[in-house]
């Protein structure tokens, strides 16, 4: 691993809360590592668990699934299904051998630009410590 | 007669590996014996047949045909590096014979399959002959034998504390030369004879004589409905079969680059013959099951003069609903007489 290696994080962000929160981090000019790239989805409930695996397959070192706080879903209940699905999926991926730090599920509201930046900083630190992900990943 | 002590086996394989070849050997993984690239791990000795056959080595499950990169108008295409030489230790006589059947298809027709040919030519098959038959074995019913050298470069006949090597090909002889200092000279009766006395109850129950011709006349026989009814349309029988060789070609695209690959396909999958317009010439289980068995028992013999089965017994052991070649031959025998 070269010393300037930076992890790659794929984030799935609900457009109403987390994506807007990331925008707020931008308008507030909060600096965070250029490791994350967001996929904009209507709701965290749109995130198929297999999307996460696909990201790891194709070379993501970490994946973030983020949406509105429970109770604040634009569609009332989408994130409550997310909570069930990803409670299982995160444990299952760890059961398959993935390090817990590589998948994070977070509730980040449109007002939490600060928190979005913080989560990315934390994840980047964790992943730098772990190094590149090789698990479940296809040969480049 | 030459004798290779069992204790010398790892040293010999290590030398073959040292020559730059990939050495395959049966290893016990969580109770399942599998042919794996060997890197010094314990070699399994108690097995009838590994999960995967020689097919896995010569016609891999997935194989890259070419790689490409760029835009459609400006595409750089690259062929993969030619295969390295390989040595397969521990294959059984049935599996070795199966490769000769595949030779008929891939090498001896008007079209020569380059991938198969290159692997075949660089692979040395070190067969370990059988001293007992497994409960599902029936090689004798399809012209094989527990000690037959067909398809092997070297046959190692197991005896107490070691093997008696027999080298039908020069490739086998060459492989054995790497063990010349390990080989001893012993007195022993012809080990090939032992094959005749191996008990193989299943083989006794299979009557294949004249079956090919009778099947030809009974393509539309209603028995196919009954036989195929319990099939779940998985590809297990075809994938474990050392003689089934069907493959599909597919492209994997990765934004700006990709590769064209081929990998096993199964005539039992319902989309096997599915065409772009939605037409499927073999839409039902009956069509597909009949295809599999007619191919093995009728079309292949008509084209190449022998059944497309070596009696390894993997389908017998594997099929979750007992729809395997001996059972089908038995059921056909009952209705066709």
């Amino acid at each position: 691993m070269s010393s300037d290696w930076q992890p790659r994080i794929v984030g799935f962000a609900c457009r109403w809360c987390t994506y807007a929160g990331a925008d707020l981090a931008g308008t507030s000019r909060l600096e965070y590592p250029a490791t994350v790239r967001l996929v904009r989805v209507p709701c965290s409930g749109r995130v198929n668990p297999s999307f996460v695996l696909r990201a790891f397959q194709r070379g993501a070192d970490g994946v973030l699934v983020a949406g509105c706080h429970p109770g604040d879903c634009h569609y009332t209940s989408g994130n409550l299904f997310t909570r069930r699905r990803f409670s299982l999926v995160k444990r299952f991926l760890e059961y398959l051998g993935l390090e817990p730090e590589r998948l994070r599920v977070e509730w980040i509201s449109a007002a939490e630009g600060q928190r979005f930046a913080q989560v990315i900083r934390e994840m980047t630190d964790d992943l730098c410590r772990l190094g590149p992900n090789r698990k479940m990943r296809e040969e480049p | 007669m030459r004798f290779l002590p069992a204790t010398a086996l790892p040293r010999w394989l290590e030398r073959l590996r040292g020559d730059g070849a990939t050495v395959w050997a049966p290893v016990d993984e969580d109770g399942v014996v599998v042919l794996r690239p060997w890197e010094g791990q314990p070699i399994a000795s108690r097995y009838v047949n590994p999960l995967n056959s020689l097919k896995d080595v010569l016609l891999p499950r997935t194989e890259t045909i070419l790689e490409f990169e760029g835009r459609p108008t400006d595409l750089a295409v690259r062929e993969p590096a030619p295969p390295q030489s390989q040595v397969v230790f521990g294959t059984r006589p049935c599996d070795a014979a199966a490769m000769e059947l595949n030779d008929r298809v891939f090498l001896e027709g008007t079209f020569v399959d380059e991938g198969f040919r290159r692997r075949r030519e660089t692979t040395t098959v070190l067969t370990v002959a059988c001293t007992v038959a497994g409960p599902h074995c029936f090689c004798r019913a399809v012209g094989g034998s527990p000690t037959a050298p067909r398809g092997s470069d070297l046959v190692l006949h197991p005896v107490e504390n070691g093997y008696l090597p027999e080298a039908p090909t020069s490739r086998g002889e060459k492989a054995l030369r790497a063990a010349s200092d390990l080989v001893e000279d012993v007195e022993h009766p012809d080990p090939r004879e032992a094959g005749r006395t191996v008990a193989m109850p299943l083989a006794e129950r299979i009557a294949l004589d004249g079956l090919a011709a009778r099947l030809r006349d009974h393509f539309e026989h209603p028995c196919w409905d009954a036989i195929s009814r319990r099939c779940h349309s998985c590809g297990l029988c075809t994938f474990v079969c050392p003689t089934c060789y069907c493959f599909a070609v597919f492209d994997s695209l990765r934004v700006t680059r990709g590769r064209r690959q081929r990998g096993w396909d199964s005539c039992q999958f319902k989309d096997f013959l599915l065409m772009a317009g939605g037409h499927n010439p073999r839409p039902t289980r009956k069509h597909r099951v009949r295809q599999r068995f007619l191919h093995k028992l009728c079309y292949f013999p008509e084209a190449y003069g022998e059944y497309q089965c070596v009696g390894c017994g993997r389908c017998v052991a594997g099929c979750p609903v007992g729809l395997h070649l001996p059972a089908v031959v038995d059921e056909l025998g009952e209705v066709l007489g």
Binding site: G26, A34, T35, V39, V41, P49, G78 | V255
Partner: protein, 657 residues
């Protein structure tokens, strides 16, 4: 392969200061499918938009990717620009290289690499895009208002006054709802029926309001702009068209039964109206108590009716109506205090609930407005009011505040003092919540002028002693046990949803909270809307409210209906779910995850498959994940598109990262 154009915005220094725009443009030009790539100082400016329009025309583009600020800023702008050039507006994608790149990263090289990846992802998405057409739904400019109380009437009047037809459905035979039972209103103490009666008359004679009393909604199908509603009218056993409202039948009917309207403290006849000012002034036969229905003889009403309007053979009739919007104003109920055994309600006649106290105060009530206690008709000298009976009591399942009780209890104490000048009112309370214009002053007057004694604390027990009730509680301010001997005890019982609120909510596909109050779409920003487009809330169906709030909310709901009706047709986002029927197994795992009940069953060939009502679907995509076979796709966010984006974002090319 679609022809894609990429336009990269400098946003002056905002993007170009951190991201090497030229390099991004060059990288974009080399991406598969891209036939045009250009950068521009301000793409959102008129010349910038013109650049997009010209590129679409000149390069025959099938899709455009704009690398610029967040889609929440200018997605609409660029879509309009594309549409003006003849491109399907849903074939424009935005790569967010400002808020999520140039503004948050400092290293120019890293930011540039990331910007390229973001563009790559949007190009990959755009390649897999279908042109989408906005859904256009016709609007039936006619509203249904469910509930003929003050909320429903207000909403109906506002809508009708604006020129639209209204269908007003009320389950009781007459308008007025809960408010018709009230005596006076706080904080002004004007009489409820003085406000209500003119309003009911106004509603009844409004040329654009069709009144359907004694009717209930049975079925609701369709969606915003085009609801199909089945409404059942219960049999009154009186032909209201013939009836002239003389009420001879009521007068002569020999059968007298306790009146629920009077909280069983007064009587009604088996035929008649609930109260004299009822609108419409038409009688119904109470089938359960009518002697004819019980025994097959009597028919006094038939004999006295001058117009032969009594019809024992009348049946329920059901009609189907088309409406474009629905206002739900079904109000509330009060908790049956039977579950509070410690207060003795039901056991002792002189323990009553507040609604009964309203009736005792009402000049049209069972006592003619003189406060007399039920047991012996004596005017009570000491009255104890107990607040928060069932409210703010999480142990018994209701943690919420019923909101109206503090004020009406103060009103009761005040009215009592007015009517019984030497009487003493005691109020057991937890907190006095008097937020509202003139409310706190009113409570102060109750204490200072009406002399009501407020005691902070819960009442532990009420039990009889002699002909009085002993009320024992703890004054939590002094810590003393308090015991009051009262002639009458009045319980301020919790406001609760109607018994069948959940059933109606299911018909309407509207969510309810844990108690059964209807959920608004957003507590702050969309308080009168529901999650089902075209269905609005007014009044206490949503949460306990007083009259002025109810009326304000009803007008708010009406204004939402009017906004809907002012449109020629409804335009809906086409980003909705759609079913591939050849793949759908009909397992319906998608159905329970849909918050809008937009998924229903359709027979396709010989089997049942799921189908999505695009008018109801809001495009959340939960169903697409619940579907294992991939038969359910969310347009604009298909599996193929998201997977392609992921793939592009994972690609590691060139320098850092």
């Amino acid at each position: 392969m679609p022809r894609i154009g990429v336009v990269v915005c400098w946003c002056g220094h905002n993007i170009a200061g951190t991201v090497d725009v030229t390099q991004v443009t060059a990288a974009a030009a080399a991406m598969p499918g891209v036939v045009y790539a250009e950068d521009y100082k301000y793409v959102c400016s008129e010349p910038g938009q013109d650049l997009i329009r010209r590129a679409i025309a000149d390069k025959r583009l099938d899709a455009v990717v704009v690398a610029a600020c967040s889609p929440s800023m200018h997605e609409a702008t660029f879509r309009q620009a594309a549409a003006a050039a003849g491109l399907n507006p849903y074939r424009v994608e935005i790569a967010n290289v400002r808020e999520q790149c140039s503004w948050v990263h400092r290293d120019r090289e890293e930011a540039t690499v990331k910007a390229v990846a973001l563009v790559q992802a949007m190009v990959a998405k755009a390649r897999r895009e279908e042109p989408l057409e906005a859904l256009r739904l016709p609007v039936t400019r006619r509203a249904l208002v469910i509930g003929g109380g003050i909320a429903g009437m207000q909403a109906a009047m506002d809508i009708a006054d604006a020129g639209y037809q209204v269908l007003l459905v009320e389950r009781e035979p007459n308008l007025g709802g809960r408010m018709a039972q009230l005596s006076e209103t706080f904080p002004t103490l004007d009489c409820a029926s003085c406000i209500l009666t003119p309003r009911t008359a106004e509603v009844a004679r409004h040329p654009r309001i069709e009144l359907l009393t004694y009717s209930e909604v049975r079925e609701v199908a369709g969606y915003v702009g085009d609801f199909r509603v089945r409404i059942a009218r219960k049999p009154a056993y009186v032909d209201w068209d013939r009836c002239i409202g003389c009420m001879l039948c009521q007068e002569k009917c020999p059968r007298k039964v306790p009146s629920p309207f009077e909280r069983d403290m007064g009587f009604k006849k088996a035929i008649g109206v609930n109260f004299p000012q009822a609108v419409p002034n038409r009688p119904v036969i109470d089938r359960e108590h009518c002697t004819y229905f019980e025994k097959g003889k009597c028919q006094v009403c038939v004999r006295v009716c001058p117009v032969e309007a009594v019809d024992f053979e009348q049946r329920e009739t059901v009609r189907e109506e088309a409406v474009g919007a629905i206002v739900v104003a079904t109000g509330f109920d009060v908790l049956a205090p039977a579950e509070f055994g410690e207060y003795g309600y039901g056991r002792y006649p002189d323990v009553i609930d507040s609604l009964a106290f309203e009736r005792l105060n009402s000049s049209s009530g069972p006592t003619g407005g003189v406060i007399r206690r039920p047991s012996d008709g004596r005017v009570p000298r000491e009255v104890v009011f107990i607040q928060c009976v069932g409210s703010r009591d999480p142990d018994r399942g209701r943690g919420y505040c019923s909101k109206i009780c503090c004020m009406y209890t103060a009103k009761h104490a005040m009215l009592y003092r007015h009517k019984v000048p030497d009487g003493q009112a005691y109020v057991f309370y937890m907190d006095v919540r008097a937020g509202g214009k003139g409310y706190e002053e009113f409570v102060q007057r109750t204490v200072e002028q009406a002399g009501a004694l407020y005691l902070r604390g819960r009442v532990a027990r009420v039990y009889p002693e002699g002909d009085r009730m002993l009320v024992r509680g703890v004054d939590t301010l002094s810590g003393q046990t308090v015991e009051v001997a009262a002639d009458l005890v009045v319980l301020a019982t919790a406001a609760v949803p109607r018994g069948d609120a959940r059933e109606l909510a299911q018909l309407l596909k509207v969510g309810t909270d844990a108690h059964g109050f209807y959920n608004e779409a957003h507590p702050k920003l969309r308080p009168v809307e529901t999650m089902t487009r075209g269905i609005f809330l007014a009044g206490a169906v949503q949460a306990p409210r007083d009259i002025s709030e109810t009326v304000a909310q009803a007008s708010g709901a009406a204004s939402k209906v009017l906004a809907l009706f002012s449109q020629e047709e409804l335009v809906a986002d086409p980003l909705v779910a759609v079913v591939d029927e050849t793949r759908c197994a009909g397992c319906f795992l998608c159905r329970p995850v849909c918050p809008y009940q937009a998924i229903s069953t359709r027979v396709a060939g010989n089997r049942e498959v799921a189908t999505v009502n695009p008018g109801l679907c809001q495009g959340c995509g939960a169903c697409a994940v619940a579907c294992r076979s991939g038969a359910m796709a969310l347009k604009g966010f298909t599996d193929e598109q998201i997977l392609a984006e992921v793939e592009a974002l994972c690609l590691r090319t060139g320098s850092p990262g």
